[in-house]
Symmetry: C2
Subunit: 348 residues, 2 copies
Amino acid sequence: MDTPSGSAPVTLEDVARRAGVSPATASRALNGSARKVRDEYQARVHAAAVELGYIANTAAQAVARGRGDHLALVVNGINDDYFSPVAAGVLKAAEAADRMVTMISSRNSAQQAARVVSTLRSQRPRAIVLAGGRSVASTFWEERLVEELAAFQDEGGRVVAISEEGMPFDTVSLDNVSAARDLAATLADLGYRRVTILAGPADARTAHDRVQGFTAGLAERGVEVPPSGVIHCGFDRDGGYSAAGECLRRRVPAELVLAISDTVAVGALARFREAGMSLPGDMAVAGIDDVAVLRDVTPALTTVRLPWPEAGRAALDLALRPTDAQPRLVRMTGHVVLRESTPGIEGR
Amino acid sequence: MDTPSGSAPVTLEDVARRAGVSPATASRALNGSARKVRDEYQARVHAAAVELGYIANTAAQAVARGRGDHLALVVNGINDDYFSPVAAGVLKAAEAADRMVTMISSRNSAQQAARVVSTLRSQRPRAIVLAGGRSVASTFWEERLVEELAAFQDEGGRVVAISEEGMPFDTVSLDNVSAARDLAATLADLGYRRVTILAGPADARTAHDRVQGFTAGLAERGVEVPPSGVIHCGFDRDGGYSAAGECLRRRVPAELVLAISDTVAVGALARFREAGMSLPGDMAVAGIDDVAVLRDVTPALTTVRLPWPEAGRAALDLALRPTDAQPRLVRMTGHVVLRESTPGIEGR
DNA sequence: TTGTAAGCGTTATCAC
DNA sequence: GTGATAACGCTTACAA
């Protein structure tokens, strides 16, 4: 407790000596072990540990056991829409399982992700959870990333992806296609016919799937989106902002803008308002994700609620419940939330 | 590269053997060392490492060296207003310094924080950065936390706090008092006289300091805030929402609401709008922090921009530049940003 | 400069 | 059940 200044950390041996037992017994008493330790020793060791303020050295444990018992979480970026909800889900589950989580950002780049996984490998974590959408095409760095993860798995680590299906690892996927389809269909049913899609980056899988869903949902209701009605943009607020500008410039006749994400939608809202449009009167806007922090924008945003925290939880479950079986897949779906930004079309 | 299935990780010894040198030489060649290694061996070892796909086991390194070389970042919570900007600053600086960062949440509780630091200690990181405001009073768990950190420092780790001044560790502090004072004074100069303060939790140091700053800044301009004009609430959006409701209920005559944070301000905005008020016509609202994700609320929020990312950077600098000197202190200040939510009072 | 060998703190094996 | 003792992978005196 009141350790003298500049002291070295208390080791297991210190505890053992103090308790009058062997280091082996102390180890068995303090950390789990198949073996039982006599109650008296148990007590003595625990007492000694507390008195000395012993804290196990996890690095040493990792060396001895061949692998640490913590988890690593790779996210696209700290400012990413999905970071917060996913991380919250993972962290909560991790806490319940009494596991430490190392979070690290791959900054939206497969190259960085590959590097990051490589670094992570050196920590010998129990599992790596990779959160973040992949590319449409399989790029060099995407492949490198998969190799790196495969190598990790090969060494005895576990890999879980929260992303689109298709990686050769346990995966938790949110159904972007049907989320977008449901939203589009619902709004078509509300009467919208002339639709513009803010499509995000052409090479991002998540964006691609959602656009696919939008067009499919609209098509089911007999609504066509002309090529000029699909505007690609960045997967963030500024992307939505400039895409909305482009939308204005092109003078596409539209009564509804379908954005691939809430953040993009909010950017669009800002741009339209700047153009003097009345919202939602002059233009209806909807997004996907139901980002919590955006709940106070005006008009309140119609969106699809996607269970990101649950996905995080599920990912940790997969990570903690190893299996020899083929890669497992957990699919999750969202549900449409209608709000003020897309009033029904009464009499236009 | 193409490791056979189920293989054990490549060790330094494997590399050494392959390169035809001793493990010692391989170690010196791959990881920094005072010693020089003959160029030929250097090359051979590096080649062998690449061929074998060697990745150093940081756990083993940490055991051998007595301490790891990664950093740990303790944040209040993933959904915290300050999490994202601070973490971004820290992570960026860490990346520049080629350091891994373990992030972990203390979930707004000193008790959790103490526990978390204890766990972190077991990882033997180079430094622990503690981000998050402290309490007004020194509670049991606050003290426990400080003890835990002190013990860590005693063992040779470094501690840096991003919080209010006063902890016995290197500290980066943002001047909450003057931020609030500047804002209040500026708005008083704009003509506001009847002011209500959404004060946040009474025991949170950050909130306390900002309220102090508000009243001081107003007092300097001859504006008094009656006791009923100070409403305590949660340090989040919902806190602001309900406090604004309370404000309405009390029928406090006010033309300006000063919220201790942007998030609280946004909650208030929502509540006022719900009450049918026109904003900013019927009520001016201002916050503090300049949270990026809130930039699209309407009306645009007057606030004080606080350099959180820079604080994160500065904290990492302190962590990476050890010193024997007394705890160092880096003070940072913000600047007022006037926007639409607080138009000047023309003729009321 | 290089190699040998002794640690680092912990766990696992195997006698007792 | 317990305790030597040998790993674990790496670093670092100390010799050579």
